[in-house]
């Protein structure tokens, strides 16, 4: 896939949204891939012991999914020069087959003359925003 051209982009453009179901199995898989084995991401008892309502998703998994929205749109994932998030609310993942739906949307917040654009991303789960100040800076062709 080739990198999107900056000449095709204007401020305010909306990126195609992304709806992703996150299940306990996804958390186990992400734990293994990332090396983050904190038990609050797979063990209900451990989660409750630190005051959480249930097992929560890795914040870094939510951030990775948010960046899928951006890399798919940009065409070339290597175009991402910077990405940042604040983790504002945990994504609670119940022990069932459906898991939790997380919905991502994004739009072009800034377009610079040097061909870089800044995407502002929103992420919502259970009717609440779960990421704050989520942005990605992309060097377009």
């Amino acid at each position: 896939m080739s990198r999107r051209r900056s000449s095709e982009v204007t401020e305010g453009d909306e990126l195609p949204g992304l709806q992703i179901r996150v299940t306990r199995a996804d958390l186990v898989r992400y734990a293994g891939a990332s090396g983050d084995f904190n038990p609050i991401h797979w063990n209900e008892r451990a989660a409750r012991e630190v005051g959480l309502p249930d097992v929560i998703a890795h914040g870094m998994l939510t951030m990775a999914l948010a960046n899928r929205l951006v890399t798919t749109w940009a065409g070339d994932p290597g175009a991402v020069v910077e990405c940042a998030v604040r983790f504002t609310r945990p994504v609670v993942v119940p022990d069932d087959a459906e898991g939790t739906l997380v919905e991502f949307s994004g739009k072009v917040a800034q377009r610079h003359d040097d061909g870089t654009v800044v995407i502002a991303i929103t992420a919502r789960s259970a009717a609440q925003s779960v990421l704050g100040q989520a942005t990605a800076t992309i060097a377009l062709a």
């Binding site: 898989r29 630190v50 951006v70 604040r86």
Partner: protein, 149 residues
């Protein structure tokens, strides 16, 4: 227990290097459900101008976590890791990470403070390649939650 402010400015040099493999990148891409061919197929990566498959933008967390482990396990810091939550995260990519890279990660403590009764630790992981050139800068804010009442 408040964190020791004298940790500000400390630096934990890289303990060994990390060899980036094609299969690890594929495993990470699968874990985030991303089927982009640039993560899997060397010829697709070459068509985008890369010498081998590249890693997703958040792949560097693997190296950042390894580098952080040395700090959070430092008994002098007295951190209760079970109370640590991730507050913020950012990555600045000087170039994409790609298969075949031999990376080194150095951790810097950029902030130690208390806000609203929670301790906050700001760390920066500088990732460089075998030539010593910068690849990725990963910044994390770790929040140590207060004890349950």
């Amino acid at each position: 227990m408040a964190l020791d402010p004298s940790f500000l400015g400390r630096c934990y040099p890289a303990a060994g290097t990390y060899q980036v493999g094609r299969e690890k990148i594929r495993e990470f891409a699968e874990a985030i459900g991303d089927d982009n061919a640039v993560y899997r197929d060397p010829s697709a990566a070459r068509a985008c101008g890369y010498s081998d498959v590249i890693a997703p933008p958040t792949f560097a967390i693997i190296l950042a976590l390894r580098a952080q482990r040395v700090l959070v396990c430092d008994p002098e810091l007295g951190l209760d890791y079970s109370r640590v939550v991730h507050g913020n995260q950012s990555f600045t990519h000087h170039r994409p990470i790609r298969a075949g890279d031999e990376l080194a990660a150095t951790l810097h403590v950029d902030g130690v403070r208390t806000m609203g009764g929670n301790d906050m630790l700001t760390v920066r992981c500088q990732i460089t390649d075998a030539a010593g050139d910068p690849v990725t800068t990963a910044r994390s804010v770790l929040v140590v939650r207060r004890e349950n009442r």
